[in-house]
């Protein structure tokens, strides 16, 4: 408890505070100003980064729901004796280093990468496709890839809990498959769905590795923060970007937390 206060609340508070300072010659100055916060909303690059990031996060979340739902449904309701094995197969990518896995995508998608060289080799293409890496497309693909298990696992745990007799009763009463899905399965899976949406959206908003590794120069909040703390050497600007991001994340959490139980998911 004490640890959390000292090293969790403290750091977050200090981030909001440092964002009001200025940095000159790599030293923080005691000049308090709201300039950096204002810059987050008025600076064209920052604004574009926030718009890009939010768009990509929404797109990724929607894609993840579409991809994960039938997948989780199949494992949870039709997995049978293989259910545990399938679940471990989902967990493995979930807990293996994500830099390594995104690097895997880098060598698949690169202009001389595996996909292009294979398509050229078998004669489908003459020229490598260039839009599959270092574009918004590759960010979208990478984010969907990375956070997919965070959508699958919560969905799985709520789909698995649904009582089969409810579904059978609905069929007996003459409900169509679509009706059973809309009236029974979907409503009962809401907690898992919301949990997955929270994770995927928040993690996509705060993504750094994907846009930095396979996102080319696309403006993204995560990479701008990384830059401010790295080569850019402007901590207060980075802190201001981080603070606004944090507020968005907290807002999303606050508004969706009531529909789910995060503790039940793992």
């Amino acid at each position: 408890m004490f640890l959390e206060l000292l090293f969790f609340i403290g750091p977050l508070a200090i981030m909001f505070f440092i964002a009001t300072m200025r940095m000159e010659d790599f030293a923080l100055q005691q000049a308090y100003t709201l300039e950096n916060y204002i810059g987050v909303f008025t600076g064209p690059a920052n604004r574009a980064a926030f718009i890009n990031t939010t768009t990509m996060a929404v797109l990724t979340t929607v894609t993840a729901v579409i991809v994960a739902y039938p997948f989780a449904y199949y494992i949870a309701r039709r997995g049978g004796e293989y259910q545990n094995l399938l679940l471990i197969l989902v967990m493995i990518p979930f807990w293996t280093n994500y830099i390594v896995r995104i690097y895997g995508w880098q060598i698949i998608l690169g202009s001389k990468g595996i996909l292009n060289s294979m398509l050229i080799w078998i004669g489908v293409l003459n020229e490598p496709i260039s839009w599959i890496i270092n574009t918004k497309f590759s960010i979208w693909l990478g984010l969907t890839y990375l956070w997919l298990p965070f959508m699958v696992l919560p969905l799985y745990s709520s789909l698995e809990k649904i009582d089969e007799s409810l579904i059978e009763a609905a069929y007996d009463l003459g409900a169509s498959r679509l009706a059973v899905f809309r009236r029974i399965v979907l409503p009962l899976s809401i907690p898992g769905l919301v949990g997955g949406i929270i994770f995927v959206f928040i993690f996509s908003m705060g993504a750094y590795i994907v846009p930095a590794m396979i996102g080319g120069g696309e403006l993204f909040v995560g990479t701008r923060i990384g830059y401010a703390f790295g080569i850019g050497g402007d901590w207060p600007v980075g802190a201001a970007l981080g603070s606004v991001l944090m507020l968005i994340v907290a807002g999303v959490l606050w508004s969706l937390m009531g529909y789910t139980d995060v503790e039940e998911m793992f």
Binding site: L3, F7, T96, G104, M118, L148, F229, G242
Partner: protein, 278 residues
């Protein structure tokens, strides 16, 4: 329909039938097919890394240039890599011990005891899990700077402890909620002291949860990049080393390193799952 000639009628019927049967097959099998496709997507980069860590050519591309173990030989002789790996193992071990102890005690407090502000405490415990690592990383960097603490492997450990502990706590408390408190009461009735009850009843029952939580903690620490990246100062952990190598473009040695990291993590998670499901 009946006014048409029998010939065209038969022809269109076959077409309708075959489209119908394709749709019927699709409707029946789309779920398993979809599942296989998603698994392919999840494992594509992993398979590619493992496969091309044995390829002779310096570019990971098709066609295959031949089998080699050269990249693994280069990997083993890389002293900076070995130092980074040792650092990661060291940090991982300390964080695992710390997080497992704190997480287990926290879980017992949260499930068994009733105290004021329990709801707040609960929210506080879950919060670090849902905050992007990037925000936590920079916030910790600013915090250590503010407290005049030089960043090193020690600050990495503290930072990781903050976000790893909740995962252990949740794993253990799930196990704790699953078992009957009457077992503890029975032990007390039979004359066991409070400490004996903990040692002989509570702990053994919690053990699978604690062990899988510990393996969980180790994996999280071992894979963490963002917190280590911002709070490690000049010292490298393995993910930071891999990151710095990836920045210099593709290199088949990275494939070999990645393969080893993957196999290590897979081993840990499989062990953790086997213990948890026991």
């Amino acid at each position: 329909m009946s006014t048409k000639t029998s010939e065209t009628n038969a022809g269109s019927e076959t077409v309708t039938n075959s489209i119908g049967s394709i749709l019927a097959v699709a409707e029946r099998y789309w779920l398993p097919i979809w599942t296989v496709l998603v698994f392919t997507f999840l494992y594509a980069p992993i398979a590619v890394l493992i496969l091309f860590s044995f390829e002779k050519g310096t570019f990971s591309s098709v066609p295959w240039d031949g089998f080699t173990m050269q990249w693994y030989a280069e990997m083993v002789s890389d002293t900076r890599l070995i130092r980074a790996t040792m650092n990661s193992l060291y940090v991982g071990t300390v964080v695992t011990f710390g997080a497992t102890t704190l997480g287990t005690l926290g879980a017992i407090a949260l499930v068994r005891a009733d105290f004021r502000g329990k709801g707040f405490y609960r929210a506080l415990v879950v919060a670090p899990m849902t905050i992007p690592g990037l925000i936590l990383g920079i916030a910790l960097l600013l915090w250590f700077n503010f407290l005049n603490i030089n960043t090193s492997l020690v600050t990495v450990m503290i930072g990781q402890l903050v976000f790893v502990t909740p995962f252990v706590l949740i794993t253990v408390s799930a196990r704790l909620r699953g078992f009957d408190p009457e077992l503890e009461e029975a032990a007390r009735d039979l004359g066991a002291s409070k400490w004996q009850t903990y040692r002989r009843v509570t702990l053994p029952i919690l053990m699978p949860g604690i062990v899988s939580g510990a393996l969980f903690a180790f994996t999280l620490s071992f894979d963490d990049f963002l917190i280590a990246f911002f709070t490690s100062g000049v010292q490298n952990t393995l993910p930071i080393y891999i990151w710095s190598k990836v920045q210099h473009g593709t290199d088949p040695v990275i494939n070999a390193i990645s393969t080893m990291v993957l196999l290590f993590s897979i081993g840990l998670i499989v062990a953790s799952e086997l213990i948890r499901r026991r």
